[in-house]
């Protein structure tokens, strides 16, 4: 699975989920309409999105997605066409939500963030777990060996559903 796209150069650290999608937009029972409010809680967020209308890969600093557990953050990214987030670290719950929504969470060294933020195009090879900015060298990144399966098309709920009998047997013997 190869993804190629333009970056949305947020660059900053601690992009919390209130910045990604403010709570006032969490009033639905589906995922409709979330995309139009993406980054509306971030100072300058709307302007950054307008400057990079074709962007599909977020580039940010440390601790991306900290704060609330709202999966709406992942849904809003997906709704706007984002397929990956490159950051120097992720908050746990967002990281889990990214995998279940097939958003590729790419961790690179802080020093590399600017390279990706300035790139015209970023290419990701999910299967090989490598990424590069423009024609630069391929950089390896880590993915969770199990959750990678969710990015490549296996669903989270079907996987858990396949475990129900195992869980029941475990509980019976508990």
């Amino acid at each position: 699975m190869i993804l190629t796209g333009e970056p949305l150069p947020l660059r900053r650290a601690n992009v919390d989920t209130d910045q990604i999608i403010p709570a006032r937009y969490l009033t639905g029972i589906d995922t409709e309409g979330l995309g139009e409010h993406l980054f509306s809680g971030m100072a300058g967020g709307a302007e950054l999105l307008a400057e990079s209308p074709g962007a599909t890969i977020v580039v940010a600093g440390e601790n991306f997605g900290c704060g609330s557990s709202r999966e709406h953050a992942a849904w809003a990214l997906t709704a706007r066409g984002f397929r990956a987030v490159i950051a120097s670290s992720f908050a746990r719950i967002f990281l889990e939500n990214a995998y279940t929504n097939a958003i590729v969470p790419v961790v690179v060294r802080d020093a590399m963030i600017e390279t990706f933020a300035r790139a015209r195009s970023i290419t990701l090879d999910v299967a090989e777990q490598t990424v590069r900015a423009d024609d630069g060298e391929w950089i390896a990144f880590e993915l969770d060996a199990l959750r990678k399966h969710f990015i490549l098309g296996g669903g989270y709920l079907p996987y858990l559903a396949s475990k129900i009998e195992t869980v029941r047997a475990w509980e019976a013997a508990r």
């Binding site: 900053r12 601690n14 919390d16 209130d18 910045q19 403010p22 709570a23 006032r24 969490l26 009033t27 639905g28 029972i29 589906d30 995922t31 809680g41 971030m42 100072a43 440390e62 601790n63 900290c66 704060g67 609330s68 557990s69 709202r70 999966e71 992942a74 670290s89 908050a91 746990r92 719950i93 889990e96 939500n97 279940t100 929504n101 969770d144 060996a145 199990l146 959750r147 990678k148 989270y156 709920l157 996987y159 858990l160 559903a161 475990k163 129900i164 195992t166 869980v167 029941r168 475990w170 509980e171």
Partner: protein, 447 residues
């Protein structure tokens, strides 16, 4: 050799999975109206009526309760009709409150158990010696369908608080101090396991306040070993769980990291910036090296005092500080005085509200000119009542001072209920000591 967390984890691993993951059994799943509908609908669409065990699920309408508009009315109604259809216990208007308040208040948490909810502040329940964590909607749906979460095993950080909490400080100040010590993202990948004499001396409400903010250091959760204080609290709850193990860490437990704070050195704190780690002593100055973006958003500068900054609103409530002890702390300051800025006081549950009213706290609050509301998540997340206008500055007993958290362009300073109450009276960031001083100086002026 094992920490308290290790013991709970080991007892709940159903299966080790690839990539360092495990299938971890969830004893309790809490479901609220904002993050549950999409998952509940997905399960019913794909799997029909299949739930792993409906008796393990507790549903709560809490975030926008009562509903504020058609969209939130639909959310609440979806949760209601789903709970009824599936035979799930629902806490709704009149009998409800914030899920992290009513779940422990009714005794739905057992020491040594696991709890998850599509809400990051589920870590609150770690106060009961449970492994309690926030998760996304899909993970919550998976737990309802298959009884389990897929989790990477977190590391454990030993957070020891020695001595006793200083009399001028509250559990909120301790929580903020821990976030500063661990770092706003320093807890990522860890469970914070709290021990020490200062922790043992905390009551259950104080322990909940402390554990509630573990997520604000990025931690998976916080946890405190159950003891006689825990047992006494749970014994008087509706569900009154019994037969749970009094687990604690082995004396030779191995931790991946360790920090120690002296409880006697904790003093009242207030945040100056846009994350809870950006805090300082109430009588301090904003430190050199403060993040410029945070300073700009909050319209403050390095070297500035927080004390004395003019405020537009005050809020006491949220899953951090809305229990009876928090309300007593505020009432103690507000008794016989008047607030000078709009002040909203929101109890964490209807049971807390009724308990407060039996003690006459509602009269103290209303005599002081504060707005005493029904229970709800309220102004904390800018989703229903008490939203800030751009530029408004609010002092709040809640847990997040993120940009726009309480309203687009609004500014939030986090502090304890006592600091919020004192600040509401003076209309500027203040400590209870400042009120005594203000009164004394007025008396002197009269003389």
């Amino acid at each position: 050799m094992r920490s308290l967390f290790d013991k709970i984890w080991d007892a709940h691993v159903v299966e080790e999975l690839p990539g360092g993951n495990a299938l971890v059994f969830m004893d309790r799943i809490v479901a609220h109206e904002i993050t549950t509908p999409q998952g509940a609908i997905a399960i019913e669409r794909e799997y029909g009526d299949r739930l792993y065990d409906r008796d393990r699920i507790v549903a709560v309408n809490d975030h926008v309760a009562p509903a504020k508009d058609t969209a939130t009315a639909i959310q609440a109604q979806v949760l209601r009709t789903w709970a009824k259809r599936q035979g799930i216990r629902l806490y709704d208007l009149g009998d409800g409150g914030i899920c992290h308040v009513i779940v422990p208040e009714r005794g739905y948490v057992r020491p040594g158990s696991t709890v998850c909810c599509g809400d990051s502040h589920t870590c609150t329940l770690g106060a009961f010696g449970a492994f309690a964590l926030g998760i996304g909607t899909t993970a919550q749906a998976g737990a309802m369908l298959a009884g389990c979460l897929i989790l990477q095993r977190p590391k454990v950080m030993h957070v020891e608080i020695t001595g006793r909490l200083h009399p001028s400080a509250s559990a909120k100040d301790l929580a903020l101090a821990v976030i500063s010590a661990v770092g706003f993202r320093g807890g990522t990948g860890y469970v914070l396991e709290y021990t020490g004499s200062a922790i043992e001396a905390l009551d259950m409400e104080q322990r909940m306040t402390l554990c509630n903010m573990a997520i604000e250091a990025g931690a998976t959760t916080g946890i405190i070993a159950a003891d006689a204080t825990t047992a006494a609290y749970l014994a008087q709850t509706q569900e009154a769980p019994t037969g749970w193990p009094m687990l604690r860490a082995d004396d030779d437990a191995v931790y991946a990291a360790r920090i120690t704070l002296d409880g006697d050195t904790i003093r009242p704190l207030v945040t100056w910036g846009t994350n809870p780690g950006e805090n300082m002593p109430i009588d301090g100055r904003i430190p050199v090296g403060a993040a410029q973006a945070s300073l700009d958003y909050m319209d403050v500068h390095v070297g500035a005092e927080m004390r004395g900054i003019a405020l537009d609103q005050a809020f006491i409530g949220s899953c951090t500080n809305s229990r009876i002890g928090d309300l007593r702390e505020a009432a103690h300051i507000l008794a016989g005085r008047r607030v000078t800025i709009p002040t909203i006081i929101t109890p964490g549950s209807q049971a807390v509200k009724r308990a407060a009213e039996r003690e006459g706290l509602h009269d103290i609050f209303q005599d002081a000119g504060a707005l005493w509301t029904h229970s709800s998540c309220g102004p904390c997340l800018g989703m229903s009542m008490g939203v800030l206008a751009p530029g408004m500055r609010c002092i709040s007993s809640s847990n997040r001072n993120f940009q726009g958290r309480m309203g687009d362009g609004g500014r939030v300073h986090l502090a304890s209920p006592a600091i919020v109450a004192a600040s509401a009276i003076l209309g500027r960031i203040a400590s209870p000591a400042d009120i005594a001083t203000a009164r004394d100086s007025r008396m002197e002026a009269r003389v």
